[in-house]
Amino acid sequence: MRNAKLILPFPKPPSLAEFFEMLSVKSQGLAAQLTERVYSDFFLGSLDLKEEYRRYYCVEYADLGDYIEMCHGEYLAEADLSQEHIFRIKHLSQMVDPSYSDNYLDSVLESLKKWKSDRED
């Protein structure tokens, strides 16, 4: 059951254009082709656990935290649970795949974090 590669609590996700911008990538070309895969891993191919809870599991589980713990084997802190979305990401493209030692997952997460805090200000 615990087969998520990454759990990403996040407010409203960026648009693809915003994603390109935060990674300093132009919207056409090989760089965009590669980073679009990451975007799709994170925000399109993932499962939004918050939405899943609202649509299917709120009847069975008293709260979101219980649901995530029981069904996905992950424990999330209150601050993470209160994010607008909680993306469970099962597939990560090569660029951000932790099984490659020199992957760019941290860089992408860092950029997302920065983008998020810039917007909150």
Partner: protein, 131 residues
């Protein structure tokens, strides 16, 4: 999307065709792929440039069209074949480079990706894949 199939083999390699009459520079590469060396992924794209650059430098220089012809089945599409033949008559540099999925991340990503890079300065076609 080339899928790396572990059950077939642990590694794969692909070839690509490079055509240009100019030096393959970092600037021209970044312009062509739409990236900057400053962003969060900058170092990745720099490595990609370096991998391609060394692969071009060590690649097979194509001097006659028969090198591109059907030595291996369907190595290049008719469109690329046509480009190579024009490029050769124009005296441009044509190279067949190799990429391996065993290499560093940058090379491995390039190896797994189907892509074409085209600007008025450079042309790279990386469709072929061997398994």
């Amino acid at each position: 999307m080339k899928i790396k199939m572990d059950f077939v083999s642990n590694s794969s390699s692909t070839s690509f065709i490079y055509i240009s009459d100019q030096q393959f520079t970092k600037e021209s590469f970044f312009e062509a792929i739409g990236a900057s060396d400053q962003g969060p992924l900058g170092s990745l794209f720099v490595s990609m440039y370096e991998e391609l650059n060394s692969s071009i430098a060590n690649g097979e220089r194509i001097v006659g069209i028969d090198q591109v012809a059907s030595a291996r089945d369907f190595d290049v599409t008719p469109e690329v074949f046509e480009r190579v033949s024009v490029a050769l008559t124009e005296g441009k540099r044509v190279v067949r480079g190799m990429l391996s999925s065993d290499g560093a991340l940058a090379e491995s990503i390039l190896c797994m990706e189907i892509f074409e890079i085209e600007t008025d300065k450079i042309f790279i076609n990386a469709y072929p894949n061997y398994w």
